[in-house]
């Protein structure tokens, strides 16, 4: 048995009394594809930081790389020893060319002073050749696709003699096809003896190629498994420590009622094509499909961020033009965006302002000044109605947990008394218990007669909450399911068979 590439023994990390990691043992073999799975806050990122030398572990922890104990493990040492991290944001330079992005880091590290452009291209080409990819060397990185950017980041790591490549949530923003080619690259690297560590919070395609999967929970290593012995359910159970019972909910909408929102053959160049559907009060309509299928683009058009080139949108039977977000809000359409932290919330500002931002206009007296009594009662109403747990309404939103943050986003739209609520990935990055309660809130809203468009790439989520599910692929709605007459597998099959 060969020596593992890296071995962590009894590694702990405490931040001012908070245990981030507790006596973790962990190994990655040479050339292994290893997946580290865990929920948000489980200690995954602390693991990355310790392995890549960004933070030191507590005294008493030991780290061995290729059999040699490592004592002063700084970021630069980690790189020298062949450990590279590709973060979710990829950390590239959008204004520089592909070639420069690949080769510049190596030059800086090698204390090279002058740029030999031929040599630079040669280095970049050599790196690309090692993983059999072709990228336009002279294009600015900001102008190529995310998937290609990821390959640039991998090539860059290759130029630094990488032996262990850590990738943080690498598939989060890739389409299925792109994921497949990424996995091909990773397997190619494996054949060259380069280990890869995927860090993920959900079961995905990555598991299929992983040699081993380590599951971490609350700073403790739960266990190490073979990729093949895990499935969706067991992994979730391992990550969360509890068995998840999906309860089914079928919205009781009156399907004979007039639709509150209706799309008639709307299209938008290179985003979505010929979309038609109706949404009735009290209905939860699921919209699923892979990344890049056009689901978010469609939602943005319904919310007035972009406008369809052709077709007609009707609200309560009347044809409407939604030219701005304000128009959408006026028509009673709310939108909970996919990216909570950048689009949904004003992180550094207090919960109170975040809650009332959509309804400021309603909280004024006849002098157009705030009626403080109205403001206070609005804030406390939504805090209690959605059971948002906060020390004070003046705490910055960023101090809240993911589930509570999402409640704030939901609350600010519920406060507008919407007719239609578009929820784009409402439970992304939220732990299982909180997810459950968010679903409860959504069901409750439907019961109150709000029409809900639930966009999610998680089939169980749409299946268990919606009465109908639309599947999008390449900008078109390819099938409509009635959840009463199908199984989640049918929907999954429809999505994956398209590729």
């Amino acid at each position: 048995m060969a020596e593992p590439f890296i071995r962590l023994r009894n590694v702990s990390k405490h931040y001012a009394g908070v245990t981030a990691l507790n006596n973790v043992d962990f190994t990655i073999d040479q050339g292994e594809i290893h997946c580290l799975a865990g929920e948000n806050g489980s200690g995954k990122s602390t693991m990355i930081k310790i392995i890549s030398g960004i933070v030191p572990p507590d005294p008493g922890s030991t780290i061995e790389i290729e059999g040699q104990p490592v004592h002063h493990h700084h970021a630069i040492d980690a790189i020298d020893k062949g450990i590279q991290v590709i973060y979710q944001d990829l950390s590239l330079f959008p204004n520089l060319t592909v070639a420069e992005n690949i080769a510049l880091g190596q030059m800086v590290a090698g204390h090279v002073r002058l740029v030999d452009w031929k040599e630079l291209r040669r280095v970049a080409e050599a790196a690309m050749a090692r993983i059999n990819v072709r990228l336009p060397l002279d294009s600015a990185v900001g102008e190529i696709s995310i998937a290609d950017q990821q390959l640039v980041a991998i090539c860059r790591a290759l130029t630094r003699g990488v032996k262990l490549l850590i990738m943080d949530e690498p598939t989060a923003s890739l389409t299925k096809k792109e994921v497949d080619s990424l996995l091909a690259v990773v397997q190619d690297m494996k054949s060259k003896g380069i280990a890869t560590m995927f860090v993920s919070h959900k079961l995905d395609e990555v598991l299929a190629v992983a040699d081993r999967v380590s599951v971490i929970r609350d700073g403790q290593m739960v266990g190490v498994y073979n990729g093949s012995e895990l499935n969706d359910e067991t992994l979730t159970m391992l990550m969360t420590g509890r068995k998840v019972e999906y309860s089914r909910f079928v919205p009781q909408a009156d399907m004979t009622a007039g639709p509150v929102l209706e799309c008639r053959n709307i299209s938008r160049q290179s985003e979505y094509e010929d979309i038609s559907f109706c949404l009735r009060p009290g209905e939860i309509l699921g919209l699923t499909g892979l990344l890049g299928s056009g689901r978010t683009e469609l939602a943005l058009s319904l919310f007035g961020v972009s406008q369809p080139d052709r077709g007609e949108i009707r609200v309560e039977g009347q044809p409407v033009k939604i030219n701005s977000v304000q128009d959408a809000a006026r028509l009673g359409i709310g939108y909970v965006p996919e990216n909570r932290l950048t689009q949904g919330l004003i992180n550094v500002q207090p919960v109170s302002s975040n809650l009332i931002v959509t309804t400021l206009q309603k909280l004024v007296n006849r002098f157009r000044l705030f009626d403080q009594a109205k403001v206070k009662s609005a804030i406390s109403r939504w805090v209690s109605e959605l059971a948002i747990k906060i020390p004070s309404t003046e705490s910055p939103v960023q101090t809240l947990s993911g589930g509570n943050q999402q409640r704030v986003v939901l609350a600010k739209w519920i406060a507008t008394d919407p007719k239609v609520l578009i929820l784009d990935g409402p439970t992304i990055g939220i732990d299982v218990a909180a997810k459950h309660s968010i679903h409860e809130i959504i069901r409750d809203l439907a019961n109150k007669g709000i029409a809900i468009l639930l966009i999610s790439e998680e089939v169980p989520e749409v299946y268990n909450n919606c009465n109908r599910v639309l599947v999008m692929h390449k900008g078109r709605i390819v099938q409509e399911f009635n959840t009463g007459a199908c199984t989640p597998e049918d929907i999954q099959l429809c999505i994956s068979s398209r590729n």
Binding site: Y15, Q326, Q343, N347, Q349, L360, V364, L369
Partner: protein, 326 residues
């Protein structure tokens, strides 16, 4: 809540220390009535300009054209105020009203221009306001041929030097401006939106806030406040010129930052700004009494601005460390 309170508290403490130090350095004549009076006359124009700067900083912008706006508005007012036929037909008071209204309209138009460049064309606030400040400076020179316009009616001068119930008129104007601004920021939807946009314009956009209209209004308010400052300025100097008050730019940024306005946008209160202005004015008067030259005072302001920013950085770092630990 706590943070806001503690910042005001720190400012109060600083103010007390400053008073005690200046008292002991300058002898008894620091806190006498005359000196207090002169401070009350000097502070308002800087104060109003600082309000104009502050509101743009809250949206994570900046307005480098406030001085140029004030000078142009002042020149327009001065041209009307010294217009013989206008004086003959409208009288002193009538002319003054027309002049002030015209000046404020000009200042408001500059605000619209800045707002247009920033909110419609997405120019960076630094570049847009730098550009307008060059343009306005040019227009002012064209209008005045580089000369001073002076000689206003006694009514106009009384705005700069008069008193109502013993309180200097400029101070009343400043307090009124600060009050209105406080009301806008704390008690209107616009104010809340200004703070929120300063912290995350993408999230406000997705919350149905019309970012463009908020930014437009922000720069219009900033422009009009510059115009109000011009009223005080020209009536105090009894003249208008293309390049008055250039050193104020630094001071407005300093006053805002010292008053708790975050350079990254989203935070800062009028109360903090008022306190910081009082502190700055006391230091300035104290230095003046001690015979320190104006230019040295200017250098000192630069040092103070850096020191204040450094202290803020250190404190915020500590808070962040503590938060990360928790």
């Amino acid at each position: 809540m706590l943070r806001r309170f503690s910042h005001l508290f720190v400012l109060f403490a600083v103010m007390l220390v400053v008073v005690i130090i200046l008292w002991s350095l300058t002898g008894t004549d620091f806190m006498n009535l005359g000196n207090l009076q002169s401070m009350a006359y000097q502070m308002p124009e800087l104060g109003i300009l600082s309000l104009a700067m502050m509101i743009t900083m809250l949206t994570a912008g900046i307005n480098l054209s406030i001085i140029a706006t004030a000078n142009l508005a002042g020149i327009v007012m001065a041209l009307i105020l010294t217009n013989e036929s206008m004086l003959a037909s409208l009288g002193d008071v009538g002319t003054m009203m027309v002049a002030i209204i015209a000046g404020l309209i000009v200042a408001g138009l500059v605000g619209i221009l800045n707002g247009f460049l920033i909110s419609r064309l997405d120019m960076s606030p630094i570049l847009a306001t730098l550009g307008t400040s060059i343009l306005l400076g040019g227009v002012s020179i064209v209008l005045t041929q580089g000369y001073v316009i002076s000689g206003f009616s006694p009514v106009m001068l009384s705005v700069g030097s008069g008193r109502v119930l013993g309180v200097p008129v400029p101070l009343i104007i400043f307090l009124a401006a600060a009050g209105v601004m406080g009301l806008i920021l704390n008690n209107t939807p616009l104010g809340t939106r200004i703070y929120l946009i300063g912290s995350n314009p993408v999230a406000t956009f997705f919350s149905g806030v019309n970012n463009r209209s908020v930014l437009m209004r922000t720069y219009i308010i900033s422009g009009i406040l510059s115009g109000v400052a011009a009223v005080v300025m020209i009536s105090r100097f009894n003249s208008a010129k293309a390049d008055y008050g250039e050193s104020y730019l630094l001071l407005t940024v300093l006053a805002s930052v010292l008053g708790g306005v975050s350079a990254a946008g989203g935070f800062g209160r009028v109360s903090g700004l008022v306190l910081s202005l009082v502190i700055l004015q006391m230091i300035s008067s104290g230095l003046n009494l001690m015979g320190v030259s104006n230019f040295l005072t200017l250098a000192l302001w630069g040092v103070v601005l850096i020191v204040v920013m450094v202290i803020k950085y250190v404190i915020e770092n500590k808070v962040q460390l503590r938060r990360r630990a928790a």
